[in-house]
């Protein structure tokens, strides 16, 4: 199995091991400090836990409400049952020969969007720096929110230069500056911007994203067309709920306060001339939301249902003793680590996830780390039982 060969190679890669060790110890300490100094965030996490539980329980109803709310703000909702459908919907909206910018989105990776759009003859660029490095390296995101966690500065500079960015000197600052210049050139000319979402509010159709780089802001506002990919489990009842999800995600990722929380409800507009509303002011003229099911509603009835509460903070990854040596090389083709195993089972292939689940220690550190109380070690044991179901 190729996955095990990749894990094996990661174990032997000293640069990979030392980068991960440094990142995980650093993030563990940061999250601990954020939560220690701001106990109200723990209370907020409890609240989000309840919000997610309630939302998943009435997902069908909320999804319908969200679609109506989106139409009300002149956005266009789409529902993709499968990864293939999601790719096709986005492909039709974009067409061929376009310049497309993406902000880091695991949903986009899940449906294989970038290679699909490229194969259609589009030029596609990731704008999150970590994700851009992953694109240039031709690998996969190694962590849910810090995709290039395994990479050294030397490697980052090498990749940026190969892409044509002009890095002056060896410092991390100069690499960031070069990436900024390079990406600006793409973003201002792009005909379409694609983002993910941390949450989507059913009552308003508002998409909430949280970020530090400001690339989500640019990608969602500069191009004339904005497409948001929203896995259906991200729908919550209200805009306040959605903002709470973003706040907790950011705290449990150790990035608090978040530099930006963005709220987007429909395309840009103005009513400044004769109080007549016209869509397409400085921001997008058109906005589309592609809801992605891809196994999620089916999972609500199964043994893995609690995974749907996940807010993708990636803390379970940084706290997992196995993940710290493998990163997302372990967990499946897109997702990785404790939550990744279960997401792989839900969105890709339960057999694949079940095979990989045997590297789980069952130590329960992920259960303890999860802001929304997903019993990850129990869900992963379910995967093991699934792999052994015919053995008596």
């Amino acid at each position: 199995m190729r996955a095990f060969e990749e894990i094996e190679a990661a174990l032997e890669d000293e640069e990979f091991q030392s980068a991960l060790s440094k990142a995980s110890l650093g993030t563990q300490a940061k999250v601990e400090e954020v939560l220690r100094s701001r106990p109200e965030l723990l209370a907020l996490a409890e609240e989000v836990r309840e919000i997610k539980r309630a939302a998943i329980a009435r997902l069908d109803e909320l999804l319908e409400q969200a679609m109506n709310s989106l139409r009300a703000v002149r956005a266009t909702p789409h529902l993709a049952e499968t990864a293939e459908e999601a790719r096709e919907i986005v492909g039709k909206l974009i067409g061929r020969g376009k310049l497309v910018v993406l902000s880091k989105s695991m949903a986009a990776a899940e449906v294989g969007l970038r290679p699909y759009l490229e194969a259609m003859g589009n030029e596609v660029w990731e704008t999150d720096l970590g994700e851009l490095l992953i694109q240039l390296e031709g690998t996969k995101p190694m962590h849910t929110i810090t995709p290039a966690v395994h990479m050294s500065r030397r490697r980052a500079v090498e990749l940026l230069e190969k892409a044509g960015a002009k890095v002056e000197g060896e410092s991390i600052e100069s690499a960031v500056r070069a990436a900024r210049e390079f990406l600006r050139g793409k973003i201002v000319r792009a005909q379409a911007g694609i983002t993910g979402a941390n949450a989507l509010a059913a009552d308003t159709g508002a998409i909430v994203t949280v970020e530090n780089e400001s690339n989500v802001r640019l990608v969602s506002s500069l191009p004339p067309l904005h497409i948001a990919l929203v896995p259906v489990d991200k729908v919550v009842p209200t805009l306040m709920d959605a903002i709470k999800v973003a706040m907790v995600q950011s705290a449990f990722a150790g990035l608090y306060p978040p530099t930006y929380i963005n709220v987007i409800s429909g395309p840009s507009s103005t009513a400044d001339i004769e109080r007549t509303r016209v869509y397409g002011a400085q921001g997008p003229v058109e906005q589309h939301v592609v809801f992605i099911d891809n196994g999620r509603t089916a999972a609500r009835k199964g043994a893995l249902a609690e995974q749907l509460y996940c807010i993708r903070c990636g803390r379970c990854q940084y706290e997992c003793p196995v993940w710290i040596h493998t990163a997302n090389r372990w967990g499946g083709p897109v997702y990785g680590g404790p939550m990744g195993l279960v997401w792989t089972a839900i969105t890709y292939d339960a057999n694949e996830a079940a095979k990989l689940s045997f590297l789980c220690l069952g130590c329960g550190r992920c259960d303890e780390a999860c802001p929304v109380g997903i019993p990850l070690s129990r869900l992963i044991r379910e995967l093991k039982a699934y792999a052994m179901r015919d053995l008596k």
Binding site: L361, G362, C363, K384, M388
Partner: protein
């Protein structure tokens, strides 16, 4: 991975059927440590080891064997062999490591001493001190696990047990939190010996505690071991990651992925040794994993520290 989990599961299932144990071992492996200690063979509370300590010397040998295969061209050969290898052959290949066997025997005898010193004279089921099935549960072999759990429950009940005193975190956890989901009418009260004994002053110096995952995160056995060590005269030091956020020793995947397990053990050992060169463990799996990678550090089971039996 040197072995496919399903291949290992097959070997274990086969061994369970033949020997009632996950690996081939002599039939008296679970209770030979108790020879010469006369405990009532019926009654309550009942000391129940679940044989995990006693299997540790076999686990070390199996891990040596799989480590040898991992990453080598022997790996695929080993895999093919295991398909046809009857457990009796594995029995010859896997000899218990003698120094570990002697060590765990001392631990179990110390636990009896600690209980008696605390005014508890437990019953012991001898040949009915059966394997609890923890490994079956961990590997997802639910039907085999349920079958074993029912057998254990029946045997303990037949010997008059109402309260059960377990000696390691895995056995405490499955009996207390998992058996009730798999065994109809399960009504035993289960505690770890660390929850029932009291301390006597037998030691001194500093010791760093390594919380086992299951005690700390699943069974809330967190403060008791610290109080006992303090009561015994030790100054208890905490590693950076402790209590509910304790860090695993790597043990649970040592048979399937020894390379990762060793890396995890080294990470844990190094953060423990930042605090003290004397490390207290409470689980046979933690003990063998940390002791395997230790050089200057001394890893000791808490029972020996509390009983004043450290050499």
């Amino acid at each position: 991975m040197p072995f496919e989990p399903r291949e290992i599961a097959r070997l274990i299932a086969d061994s369970m059927k033949r020997y009632g144990l996950p690996f081939p071992a002599p039939s008296d492996v679970a209770y030979s440590w108790a020879k010469g200690i006369s405990l009532p063979s019926r009654g309550s509370p009942m000391l129940y080891t679940g044989a995990l300590y006693q299997l540790a010397p076999y686990i070390v040998s199996i891990v040596d064997y799989t480590s040898l295969l991992e990453g080598s061209s022997l790996s695929s050969l080993g895999l093919k062999l295991s398909r046809h290898l009857p457990p009796s052959v594995l029995r010859i290949a896997v000899r218990p490591r003698e120094e570990v066997r002697a060590y765990v025997e001392r631990v179990l005898r110390s636990i009896v001493k600690l209980l008696e010193r605390s005014g508890i004279r437990p019953a012991y089921a001898y040949e009915d001190d059966m394997y609890s099935g923890v490994l079956l549960y961990d590997l997802g072999l639910d039907e085999l696990f349920a079958e074993q759990a029912r057998k254990v429950f029946k045997a303990l009940k037949a010997r008059g047990a109402q309260e059960v005193i377990a000696v390691d975190p895995h056995t405490t956890h499955v009996l207390r939190s998992v058996y009730p989901k798999y065994v109809d009418g399960f009504d035993l009260s289960v505690r770890s010996y660390l929850e029932v004994i009291s301390a006597s002053a037998v030691g001194r110096g500093e010791v760093v505690v390594h919380d086992p995952c299951l005690y700390a995160r699943f069974e809330n056995v967190v403060e008791q071991p610290r109080k006992l060590l303090e009561g015994a005269g030790y100054k208890v030091l905490e590693p950076r990651r402790s209590r509910r956020m304790t860090y695993c020793c790597g043990g649970p995947i040592e048979g399937l992925a020894p390379k990762i397990a060793k890396k995890i053990a080294r990470v844990r050992l190094s953060e423990l040794s930042e605090k003290s060169s004397l490390i207290a463990t409470m689980c046979p799996i933690c003990y063998i994993n940390l002791a395997e990678v230790a050089s200057r550090e001394r890893v000791e089971d808490i029972a020996l520290l509390l009983a004043g039996e450290v050499k």
